[in-house]
Symmetry: C2
Subunit: 221 residues, 2 copies
DNA sequence: CTCTGTGAATGTGTTCACAGCG
DNA sequence: CGCTGTGAACACATTCACAGAG
């Protein structure tokens, strides 16, 4: 039956899939599905069922043998693991096109993230309003009055490190970085990087390999 | 000295870092640095030097012992490996905020990607111009006249699968998906997914863990 | 008889540590 | 010497395959 013992240490690879499970489970719940098998979840996620079972068992979750997982229960369990019970205040720094797109993106609020501040250093932008939120400077951000859990960096690369330093100074320990630079942060601060050009280049690599393989096949065949 | 033999099979994890190396090397080249050591590259990338050496040796690249890697040579080598010698035509589907932000993003052209078409199904948008490019429908896309290497999906989740199917039908074999769904594509088509909410949830997980650790530390201490 | 949970096997990635080139 | 290149050790992740719960 397994006790409270196994409970610590969800593998990082599993953590990376938890949001995906949550998404799938939310959809299933909306369709009124009471339970789901590892096979079906695997199919929805594009992975194998053994992976699903390993992942979920690492949460200490209980499925029911012969039946599957209770959709609502598993949803709650994953949400709890991700710490989504509390609202997480987000500040977005850099109100260019991307920053504005993220503010307008509707997917945050329903997942427990609330954009509480917009920051830019362009005097033309400061004081304007985007999607009902005023754009300010860092000086307007009082860490006590406006606690921030996550900082999103959408500035040009040249400004990103300084912005990260400021965020860290404000007590932010999670940063999502869209600028194409490696941010240096103190131990204990988490950074995740998202970079369009990187992603495209990885895709380009695989295209290129296919081309090489094809042309070699032509010659051989 | 090693011949043309080792040349095949760059590990996927290494591929994921190649764009980063390229970025670092480009900066070094701009500063006029002729060569660089694995230690310094590692520092720029936020990884360990052994990793750098393993990665670069898997390309069959030659460093010079006692000196380091020739910046220009290594740059060329990585660019070649990524297949960046040829321009890759990109189509962006979904001209919402994110789609527009990507069109306006300046980081593509200098890295060998050219946005050749913008697609949306909103009649209000079709015919308008964004950053000098006309917005059309899929019907306007002739795969012969406008070959497309990479499709970028920035539509709502509900439309993404259908868009992916259409892209695949047009011969696209690389898709960058910003919609929060798992795309089903035939064997041989590569999909990379970027999802803001997923990234934030992963950050939230680590925040949550720290909190648990802290409170457990408090009780214990 | 179905589907979970999990040890064991395999595969992949990272790090160590050092031989050996320049 | 200083630095690369790489086997060997280790760590992590995935997959297999099956015992056993319901």
């Amino acid at each position: 039956m397994m006790a409270e013992s196994t409970r610590r240490g969800v593998p990082e690879a599993t953590v990376g899939r938890l949001p995906g499970y949550l998404r799938a489970l939310t959809e299933l719940a909306e369709r009124g599905r009471p339970s789901v098998s590892s096979d079906e979840l695997a199919d929805l996620m594009g992975i194998r069922s053994a992976q699903v079972r390993k992942d979920l068992s690492s949460l200490g979750s209980y499925g029911v043998r012969g039946v599957g997982y209770d959709v609502a229960r598993l949803s709650d369990q994953i949400a709890a693991e991700l710490g989504l019970s509390q609202e997480r205040p987000v500040v977005i720094v850099g109100m260019g096109n991307l920053g504005r797109a993220l503010v307008a993106y509707g997917g945050l609020a329903p997942r427990g993230f609330q954009v509480v501040a917009l920051v830019d250093n362009d005097p033309e932008l400061v004081g304007t309003t985007i999607e009902g939120l005023a754009v300010g400077t860092f000086a307007d951000l009082d860490p006590v009055r406006t606690p921030v859990a996550v900082g999103v960096v959408t500035t040009p690369a040249s400004a990103a490190q300084q912005v990260a330093d400021t965020l860290v100074g404000l007590g932010v320990r999670s940063i999502l970085n869209f600028a194409p630079v490696v941010l240096r942060v103190p131990e204990g601060v988490h950074v995740r990087a998202v970079d369009l050009a990187t992603e495209l280049q990885i895709l380009a690599f695989h295209e290129h390999q296919r081309l090489l393989a094809d042309s070699r096949g032509d010659e051989a065949g």
